[in-house]
Amino acid sequence: MSLTAFLQYCLTGISIGGIYALIAIGYTMVYGILRLINFAHGDIFMMAAYFMIFAMTDFFLPWQVSVVIVIVATIVLGVVIEWLAYRPLRSAPRMSIMISAIGVSYLLQNLATYLFSALPKGYPEIPFLKQIIHLGNVSTSLVTFITPILTIGLVAALMFIINHTKVGMAMRAVSRDFETAQLMGIKINRVISFTFVIGCFLAAIGSVLYFTPRATVNPLSGALPGIKCFVAAVFGGIGSIPGAVVGGFLIGISETFIKAFGYSEFSDAFTFVLLILILLIRPSGLFGEKQTEKV
């Protein structure tokens, strides 16, 4: 492999890794606060792609406006899902809410099939983001180049919110102990909704970045990326945001190189091998806390 090709693959891997990181954060934050694996997260990411088609293809809106609409619609979808499918189960056993999440995942996939058909739909062209730029010998589309930068910026902003603002402090408190958080006067439902807002905001941006270089979307488009990002979150230690970011980049870079070496058919399986290995060797993940059962 030539140096140029190597750099090219690095950039591609880092870019897809950044997208995985954005989605993995949604899994890890919801898990951190509700101890729930939100199986519907990948499908929310898929729905975000359809919102983009709606805005740009059906309503002919400029991409800048469409991105804003996608973000808002995705956030509304996530918050409504939490409200309808998870909140009523707040004091139910954890298994019930997990099953509810699986149900929502299938519901979204089938809803998308019903509304948009199972046939792939063309994802709108965003020429600005697809323009080719040259960095020395490496040439790449703008979206590939800005994805990791955007990811790092968003993660930094998120860490700031969590560690240095009042709502961030409330999120950390709620993630540790619902009852005591309530005793402080914190409205835990609001904090949980806010967590979904952040997760869906990042998934919406991830969706635009992920689908822009791809031609089409179908109702199952969110399933595989969703699982990969879930594995990224588990790898990093579910509940840990830095862990999700590292996990996302690791999976993105690994699968890109696996493809580069000609093992494309193995690149998805790699994710699952990784999952099995983590669960065997270090179930709490890279940055995960020791298993503490929530009281």
């Binding site: 009042k166 402090m169 409330a170 950390r172 408190a173 993630s175 540790r176 102990d177 009852e179 005591t180 309530q182 005793l183 402080m184 006067g185 914190i186 409205k187």
Partner: protein, 238 residues
């Protein structure tokens, strides 16, 4: 003397099992009132219900004349009731300073003076301001839990077994703090296993058994009562 808190006919059940069976109690303003009783008597449940984190089956809970039964925990905190929960429950993933700040979550004014006040009461917390609360000793965590509760500027502070599992010297310090807080005008409702110490500081006491109030009286009366001596004070007598 007027009662800051009046509870009438409080019934609380957990899935059909009645943990609190129709109790009534009064907390006079400015006093220390203690609620003693064996494990499982329903003491913690009573305090959690006052805080709004457990919903009663039926009750009248009047605080400064306002009916609070059925109100949300944040509303109840905003009215000036705070609970130092059993087992301290400090946020171990937050620093000491953040634990104090979160105690004042509903307040929008400056916290500087209050933080200084709490650090004045508990100088050890000041030294450990930036440490994660999880790294504190049990006694320090209890101080932090009390300090955190004070940050909401309560009129009534409820404490659930603050001396549980602490060394005798620390228990003494905690009781000193309870007296200090009370002298500054905050009404105290205290649950204790350590009935002897609790009754000594209390103006008034209630004895709870299997969800019911069995006896009430001034601290001194209950201390002198033969039945109570036998049931609750026996082991603690030195």
């Amino acid at each position: 003397m007027s009662n800051i808190l009046e509870i009438r006919d409080l019934v609380v059940s957990y899935g059909g099992i009645e943990a609190v069976k129709n109790i009534s109690l009064d907390v006079p303003e400015g006093q220390i009132v203690t609620l003693i009783g064996a494990n499982g008597a329903g003491k913690s449940t009573t305090l959690k219900t006052i805080s709004g984190i457990v919903k009663p089956k039926s009750a009248s809970i009047r605080f400064q004349g306002e009916e609070l039964s059925g109100k949300s925990p944040d509303y109840i905190v905003s009215k000036g009731i705070t609970l130092v929960p059993e087992g301290r429950r400090v946020f171990d993933n937050l620093s000491v300073a953040e634990n104090l700040k979160i105690g004042a979550y509903l307040r929008r004014d400056s916290l500087k003076g209050d933080m200084e006040y709490v650090y004045g009461l508990f100088p050890r917390l000041k030294e450990r301001e930036w440490q994660m609360a999880g790294t504190l000793s049990g006694g320090e965590q209890q101080m932090l839990a009390v300090g955190r509760a004070l940050m909401s500027r309560p009129k009534l502070i409820m404490m659930d077994e603050p001396s549980l599992g602490l060394a005798p010297l620390i228990v003494k310090a905690i009781f000193e703090i309870i007296k200090t807080i009370n002298e500054e005008g905050i009404t105290v409702l205290l649950i204790e296993q350590n009935a002897n110490m609790a009754l000594k500081v209390a103006d008034k006491g209630y004895v709870m058994e299997t969800g019911e109030i069995k006896m009430e009286g001034t601290g001194a009366e209950l201390l002198a009562n033969e039945e109570i001596k036998e049931a609750y004070l026996g082991k603690q007598k030195k």
